[in-house]
């Protein structure tokens, strides 16, 4: 059963169980220590309830013989006593690649799940944002082993983690106008209370009862003297009503947050302010659609995809699913809100390929860099190459080969120096880009593959080249 299954290097923290992966399957292996409790939870039917509401991934036990089970081994050498299967998430993403709306929806999903689980006598043992993934554009919890039986008087163990990984980043963007993603990328544990208290505006912090409780009072308790902590040990029981009230109150608070303070970027208006006319735009859309219809990619990457017009054309043409990777927060947020309830398999993420997400966490295996996650069979890179070459000083050949390395088939748009967008980039710097010509572009493509379809846009001299690698 598990010849090709290997333990996910990021699955090691919880000795209750581990995740094993191969190309298509996600298997959760449960150890002896957790089996009795997990079996009771599984048999209670709570997983079906949560899955039906779209809050948690399906969890189905699979039959396995003793011999098959013995081939699994936990991170601490534990024997595995039962295995379960989950659907595979097509594209794993992390909170520092999400926009405000995505993180907010993820936070609300976590709280909704907790509230429903609580009604049935269960709680989540942690509140890590990394347990939320996006499936068909909607956030969903992926760790069924986080679910535990609630016992009267117990506190919310994930409260601190929830605040650091959901609430504080959202408040920092909503109230201070700072992008939270670089901070989350800088610390996998989440944003510290001391940093948040230094960043958040005092007036709102002290006049909002929710912020006063969850941020100021909470942060103060974390940094208080140990003597006080000993004195307050007797107060560590939490009544069921209070537990539920914290969840409900946080839900009310977060659902009302809006990202209004961050300055609006140039790029979210790009679809209207670029250098091509409506007829050129239609030509480009039809080129993408025609290409997608001919090669029908299962997973398409749209690098620099802005608000997703060309992703939509590709999906309309026949691409199964598409991930937009763009460095502009506003564009990604617009794309997320545009597609999340549309039923199309288009999912946008924040990504700057001149500063891409690296491998991080324990032994740099826990959270993977973007290139090892981006398993695609098609790529479109439209109006991107000039940013890599001119803004990023990447050699043209290197930029072309990097794009072609992302997928065996794709479209690259070459934007010549006379195009107003490139002229604008060159107006503030010396033109040292001698390799940036259409001839060199064609040479770079043909060194690794061949151009199978091309279209020159006469009005601005751009070239759309569909390639296949050798």
């Amino acid at each position: 059963m598990n010849e090709l299954l290997t333990r996910d290097p990021g699955s090691f923290r919880d000795p209750a169980g581990y995740v094993f992966l191969d190309q298509n399957r996600v298997i959760r292996a449960v150890t002896q220590t957790a089996w009795q409790e997990f079996r009771e939870i599984y048999q209670s039917g709570i997983f079906e309830i949560l899955a039906r509401k779209g809050l948690m991934v399906d969890c189905r036990q699979i039959e396995a013989s003793q011999e098959e089970l013995s081939t699994f081994l936990g991170a601490r050498g534990e024997q595995i006593v039962a295995v379960f299967e989950h659907p595979r998430i097509p594209f794993i993403s992390y909170p520092y690649e999400w926009t405000f709306s995505q993180l907010k929806d993820a936070a609300l999903t976590h709280l909704d799940l907790q509230l429903i689980a609580f009604e049935h006598g269960f709680v989540l043992s942690d509140a890590t944002a990394y347990n939320i993934q996006f499936l068909s554009g909607r956030p969903i919890h992926i760790d069924c082993m986080s679910l535990r039986r609630y016992s009267e008087g117990q506190v919310w163990e994930g409260y601190n983690q929830f605040c650091r990984q959901f609430l504080l980043p959202l408040l920092i963007e909503a109230w201070s106008g700072c992008a939270f993603q670089p901070m989350l990328r800088g610390s996998l544990e989440g944003i510290s209370f001391s940093d948040a208290l230094a960043i958040l505006p005092r007036f709102q912090l002290f006049t909002s009862p929710s912020a006063l409780m969850h941020v100021y009072l909470h942060g103060k308790a974390i940094n208080t003297k140990s003597a006080s902590a000993t004195g307050l040990q007797s107060a560590t029981k939490l009544r069921a009503g209070s537990y539920k009230a914290i969840l409900k109150q946080l839900r009310d608070f977060i659902s009302g947050l809006k990202s209004r303070k961050r300055p609006v970027s140039f790029w979210n208006d790009y679809a209207f302010s670029n250098s091509y006319s409506e007829s050129m735009r239609r030509t480009k859309l039809s080129f993408v659609k025609q290409w997608a219809a001919s090669c029908k990619p299962k997973m398409l990457l749209d690098i620099g995809g802005n608000t997703g017009d060309y992703s939509l054309a590709a999906v309309d043409g026949g691409a199964d699913s598409c991930v937009i990777l763009d460095s502009d927060l506003d564009s990604v947020d617009i794309a997320y809100l545009r597609f999340k309830n549309s039923g199309t398999q288009i999912f946008p993420l924040l990504m700057n390929f001149l500063d891409p997400t690296p491998d991080m966490g324990w032994r740099q295996c826990e959270r993977k860099g973007i290139e090892s996650r981006a398993r695609a069979d098609g790529v479109i890179a439209l109006a991107l190459i000039h940013h890599l070459v001119i803004s990023g000083n990447v050699p043209l050949r290197d930029a072309v080969h990097w794009i072609m390395g992302m997928a065996p088939k794709g479209i690259i748009e070459f934007v010549p120096k006379q195009d107003p967008m490139v002229t604008g980039l060159l107006s503030t710097r010396e033109d040292i880009y001698t390799d940036y010509t259409e001839e060199m572009f064609r040479e770079a493509v043909t060194a690794r593959g061949r151009i199978v379809l091309e279209h020159s846009i006469e009005e601005n001299g751009r070239l759309l080249a569909a390639y296949e690698t050798l």
Binding site: T207, P209, L217, H218, A221, A245
Partner: protein, 75 residues
């Protein structure tokens, strides 16, 4: 009401000692939960109360609208 509660908590916090030593962050988070929980119960109750009042007025205005529409159509 909420503002008064906020103000009361602020005064309460004004008498607590400043942060001087580090303890396990989760410990602090656990210890404070009963206080935050009690505060949250009050806020959720107030919110429920407010929603009920708003609901009553909304129902009244909706039924008045319906009455208006009916009388307009009858006339």
């Amino acid at each position: 009401m909420i503002r008064y509660l906020t103000f009361a908590v602020l005064i309460m916090l004004g008498f607590t000692s400043q942060a001087q030593a580090y303890i396990d962050p989760v410990t602090g988070s656990v210890i404070i939960q009963s206080l935050i929980g009690a505060f949250a119960v009050v806020l959720v109750a107030l919110r429920g109360f407010r929603d009920r009042i708003v609901g009553i007025f909304r129902t009244k205005s909706e039924s008045e609208d319906e009455d208006d529409q009916q009388s307009t159509s009858e006339s």
